[in-house]
């Protein structure tokens, strides 16, 4: 996309019927680190790649709890995402207050989309530079939506946004047909594998990703690092049986040395050939 005379403000149409500012906002989403979502009949899993700027700084928060039954993962301008999360939380609280019942996900995403649309039609505003993967549960089941800076929203079985999300999407496209009937554990495993795809070669550790789950009887919550690392370890060893282009089992054994938690380090190094069923 090159600069042109129709891209200065959001209220200018191009002759081809495009709003360049809105499209540039969507570019911002593509620049952010990856966020992935998948859903089954009863659960929704959100995952994201958390890259800290340096060893010294903390990770940016990219997954937010909106209510007990809704959570959101963002990609793009995280500040915009934070502000929108606050809006979503407020809407949920107000709806609960008035109707003593949780806000249906579909309603929330429409409100969010309308809010985004306003910013595409005011000369003194700019579009939100963040894509949101909204995952939640309501009376009609589990839902995953993607809200875009343009004000559009779509429901998905599984989706990925942000940089190198195409790799994750390719994996999800292969597997999505089974998701509806997946168990909670299978869904989380698929989310982790999809996250690993977006890391493209880099080792998947619990320190670079965040996983969150919401399901029937399970309020939205972010899994802690230890749990995530255990889940990663469970399938990383299984991965050795998969076709080439994977690191050798020997390399896998060495890798635990620089992995997250000490406890797992011990288990993985001790018996690499034995599936860690006792974790």
């Amino acid at each position: 996309m090159f600069r042109n005379q129709y891209d200065t403000d959001v209220t200018t149409w191009s002759p081809a019927g495009r709003l360049f500012q809105v499209e540039y906002a969507m570019e911002a989403v593509k620049q952010g680190s990856a966020a992935i979502g998948l859903r089954s009949k009863t659960h929704v899993v959100l995952a994201c790649v958390n890259k800290a700027n340096s060893e010294l700084s903390s990770h940016q928060k990219k997954i937010f709890k909106v209510d007990d039954h809704i959570g959101v993962a963002i990609a793009g301008l995280t500040a915009d995402g934070r502000v929108l999360s606050r809006y979503m939380r407020n809407e949920c609280i107000n709806y609960s207050y008035t109707y003593e019942s949780p806000l249906p996900v579909g309603r929330l995403v429409v409100q969010l989309a309308d809010k985004a649309q306003v910013c595409t039609q005011r000369s003194w505003k700019r579009p939100y530079g963040v894509g949101l993967l909204v995952g939640g549960l309501d009376e009609s089941g589990a839902h995953l939506y993607y809200n875009c800076p343009s004000g559009n929203y779509f429901e998905y079985q599984a989706f990925a946004i942000g940089s190198r999300s195409q790799a994750a999407k390719t994996y999800l496209e292969r597997k999505f047909e089974n998701f509806m009937s997946s168990s909670r554990e299978e869904l989380i495993k698929d989310a982790l594998i999809a996250t690993r795809e977006s890391l493209q070669g880099e080792k998947l550790r619990s320190s670079v990703c965040t996983i969150a789950v919401v399901g029937v009887g399970e309020p939205f919550h972010i899994l802690d690092q230890e749990t995530v690392q255990k889940l990663i370890d469970e399938f990383e060893i299984v991965r050795d049986d998969e076709p080439p282009a994977e690191p050798q089992p020997a390399a896998e054994q060495d890798a635990p040395a620089d992995q997250g938690t000490g406890a797992d380090q011990g288990a993985a190094a001790a018996s690499p050939d034995v599936a860690p069923m006792d974790i």
Partner: protein
Amino acid sequence: MTKQHANWSPYDNNGGSCVAIAGADYCVIAADTRMSTGYNILTREYSKISQLAEKCVMASSGFQADVKALQKVLSARHLIYQHQHNKQMSCPAMAQLLSNTLYYKRFFPYYSFNVLGGLDNEGKGCVFTYDAVGSYERVGYSSQGSGSTLITPFLDNQLKSPSPLLYPPVDAVTPLAEAEAVELVKTVFASATERDIYTGDKVEIVILNASGIHREYMDLRKD
């Protein structure tokens, strides 16, 4: 020609009594379950107690519609706090919030007489007592509602610390054990039920301590 007065009041009094006692590492909060209007009983099984946060419980008597509205507002505010601070509100923090919320409606008050009980940041029991517009104070024990005039003197007799002017000095701290405090609450409600027509049916007793929250009920006279 005297000024005409309203022949309709936005308020009603649903009666009932509330009590709270703070211990060294526990807090007991209790309220009867009778809801009345005038000389009639609306229901014998209405809870006046609401858990606002993990370590904070409120009992309120007065106009239950206002009490319910107040509980909802505090609940919503607590959710916002949790989102912003990633933790539960402490009892003293909730106490201040309740005071501010009540004063916010200084010129159309919540007709709600509250007693807040819980554990403070150090794990010690704390009780805060309020008037309808938010004036509050931390105390060792308190009672509100229609039976408070009967209950408070009895609690003073049992729990109030002796004067520091006494000689020989009398030990001010007579820590009540949790079981003793619960027994005291049951006695107090049984007595109040005898003479206060708005108190009776059942008493709901909530005990907050380090191991969490525990609820029990005791039957009272139903007349």
